[in-house]
């Protein structure tokens, strides 16, 4: 319904992707002991794309990854790779490799042998193995670490070895299962940029699983938001953030004020007894809707000219900004601002039309 949603994205964060579908997930469902964990999931992943499967624990994102890797079979549905079903193929026949959450490095082998493992299994000649391992070590910035035991590496270095070990097999798709979860915040942020850089350099499609929305927003070309085994929304990070399709997405991605309102007509939405201009259309007149306003989009203005007036209920200093909670007729609004207020202050609130995001009520996903 939102006009700002780009259905086909060509550029994202400076990285060029093609529109050629590489993987098509067709109507996949999965049950474990009678419990449905994936419900008729459809998803297309394009060549050279960095796709992130984002959702809370237990939402089914890792199950999708394991089905793609060949460790699980779906209860129904199909997966096409370049137009052909890969379900009958064993994991090593799928042109897919995986970076595991806990890296899955072989503790009895050194860095070189960990990276060379796949090539040795495939019986590559020794000079070729040495060449390729050295290339990989260079790519992951671990030159001169080849003889080091993997047990003596830091978390970030182990992560790089795991990536090198996966990439040396030249997969067309790299599956990454929460690979940064075990790292501390600073290292995680550094690795986010490095992962993106590696993906751009190698041109391999990355399918990345995480529950961390910041990771997803930082690295992805496309984010797939999943909840309860249903895809909630697929889109570019900026679209997912600005135009959440339902309450779940709005809540899960960033902080939001979600208010019930009525769509009076195209471009006119009513909430808090005031009719606001907005940029949304296509709803029935007087249809009940959910409205999302991000805390940073709400403005505190002079109460004499404001459409909404409220009382400051709490204020928290967050470093870059203050998080202020304002109560308007019993409804709580969270506002991010750089200017402090006092608890009990009466303030006016306003929001620009493009910052009001109108959603249908009760959209669950996979629709």
């Amino acid at each position: 319904m939102a006009t700002g949603f780009n259905k086909i994205r060509i550029f994202n964060q400076g990285h060029i992707t093609t529109n050629k579908p590489l993987i098509e997930i067709k109507n996949i469902s999965k049950e474990f002991d009678g419990e449905i964990v994936l419900k008729e999931v459809d998803l297309t992943i394009k060549e050279n794309e960095f796709v992130t499967l984002l959702g809370p624990s237990g939402c089914g994102k890792t199950t999708i990854l394991r089905i793609l890797a060949g460790f699980e079979n779906p209860t129904s549905g199909d997966i096409l790779f370049e137009g052909k079903s890969i379900l009958p193929l064993a994991p090593n026949k799928r042109q897919v490799n995986t970076v595991f959450q806990k890296y899955a490095l072989f503790p009895h082998l050194n860095v070189f042998e960990n990276i060379a493992f796949g090539l040795r299994i495939k019986k590559f000649k020794e000079p070729d193995i040495i060449d390729k391992v050295k290339q990989m070590l260079k790519l992951v910035k671990l030159e001169n670490f080849e003889h080091r035991s993997v047990n003596r590496l830091s978390g970030g270095q182990q992560q790089r070895v795991a990536i090198a070990r996966a990439l040396i097999n030249e997969p067309k798709i790299l599956l990454l299962d929460e690979p940064l979860a075990a790292l501390d915040l600073k290292l995680r942020q550094e690795m986010q940029y490095e992962l993106k850089e590696m993906q751009v350099k190698t041109g391999i499609t990355f399918v990345y699983v995480t529950h961390d929305q910041e990771e997803a927003l930082t690295m992805s070309d496309t984010i797939v938001v999943i909840n309860n085994g249903l895809i909630q929304q697929v889109g570019a990070p900026i679209d997912i953030y600005n135009e959440p399709r339902n309450r779940f997405v709005a809540n899960f991605i960033g902080e939001s004020n979600i208010i019930s309102g009525i769509m009076i007509e195209d471009y006119k939405v009513k909430f808090e007894a005031h009719i606001f201009d907005c940029v949304d259309r296509g709803f029935s007149n007087n249809e009940k809707v959910d409205i999302v306003i991000r805390p940073e989009d709400m403005k505190i203005i002079d109460k004499d000219i404001a459409p909404m007036i409220g009382v400051v209920d709490s204020i928290i200093f967050k470093g870059v900004h203050y998080e202020i909670c304002v109560i308007v007729d019993g409804t709580e609004y969270v506002i991010h601002t750089t200017k402090a207020r006092e608890i009990g202050d009466i303030v006016g609130l306003d929001v620009e039309p493009q910052d009001i995001h109108v959603m249908e009520v009760g959209v669950l996903g996979n629709e």
């Binding site: 994991p91 796949g118 097999n169």
Partner: protein, 297 residues
């Protein structure tokens, strides 16, 4: 004062926790060991304990020149080599197979573990029934050329029968240790290898086997200790039908049986303690090596 004691105990709580075990160990292990060392330098009999004469190393000389002791030592060493190799190989194979997702694997595990928890007396009883004269098994084996064989008292069958039974009874225990160690290996390692194209054998060769190195070392030394201290089953099996321990011709005689026979059948405590001191030194060296290897790994 009480406060001081409580403070000291609080700081050294490990002493309090270790005390019961240490006290029992000292009474029932350390003192008897020291006493054995002491007795081994005397000519000593239980029938007349007050009359003991200091003989210095005569008991050791007598033991080391005793044909029965040398036979027992040879038997024990042969037993150790075969038992250790067989047990390490079989228990690993069984553990790997039963760790795979096969039907009734828990039932198989129980059946293999069962002999380990059955008392040796019961095992001896079962064996005596299985191998008694004209039993179904004996008659069945006769069809394969083993006619007129009394399995528990005919050389060299008796030795191999004892060996086979001990391997069978101990297999479950070592299998359980291997299974628990295999279960500790993260599934992700196998999945990573599978993606790289490793089949079941290669996963075993490149992941399971090397990652069980510490467990193998542990099992190796446990096997060594079990086999050096072997007594009950060979004793029970060789005495089926009232024959003397080590029947036939000491071919099933082990070091511990030799010690037992000298101490409690022939009332020669000096010889028995000297042999036990030799066995203690062998086991002590093995334990020392194991500790050193353990520290290194």
């Amino acid at each position: 004062m009480l406060k001081k004691i409580l403070k000291y105990l609080d700081k050294h709580i490990y002493l309090v926790l270790l005390a019961p075990f240490m006290i029992l160990s000292i009474i029932f292990t350390l003192i008897p060991i020291i006493n054995s060392f002491y007795i081994s330098f005397f000519d000593f009999s239980f029938l007349n304990p007050s009359k003991r004469s200091f003989v210095l190393l005569d008991n050791f000389k007598a033991v080391l020149t005793d044909d029965v002791f040398l036979t027992a030592l040879k038997n024990t060493l042969l037993f150790v080599v075969v038992f250790v190799l067989a047990e390490m190989f079989l228990s690993l194979i069984v553990a790997v197979l039963l760790n795979a997702k096969i039907k009734y694997s828990n039932l198989y595990k129980t059946l293999i573990y069962l002999p380990y928890v059955v008392t040796p007396i019961a095992i001896g009883g079962i064996i005596s029934q299985l191998f008694k004269k004209n039993s179904s098994l004996v008659l069945f084996l006769a069809k394969f050329g083993f006619e007129n064989v009394t399995w528990n008292s005919t050389a060299p069958y008796a030795f191999w029968l004892v060996l086979l039974i001990v391997i069978w009874t101990q297999l479950g225990f070592f299998m359980v240790i291997y299974i628990s160690a295999i279960k500790e290996i993260p599934e992700e390692l196998y999945e990573a290898a599978e993606i790289d194209g490793a089949n079941s054998f290669k996963k075993f060769r490149y992941i399971t086997y090397p990652l069980l190195k510490n467990t193998r070392t542990l099992i190796l030394f446990m096997c060594l200790l079990v086999s050096f201290q072997l007594f009950d089953l060979p004793y029970l099996i060789s005495t089926i039908g009232g024959t003397s321990p080590g029947t036939p011709n000491n071919t099933t005689m082990t070091l511990v049986m030799y010690i037992y026979a000298n101490a409690f059948r022939y009332n020669n405590m000096g010889l028995a303690t000297a042999a036990s001191v030799i066995l203690f030194i062998i086991i002590f060296i093995l334990s020392f090596v194991q500790n050193k290897l353990g520290e290194r790994s």
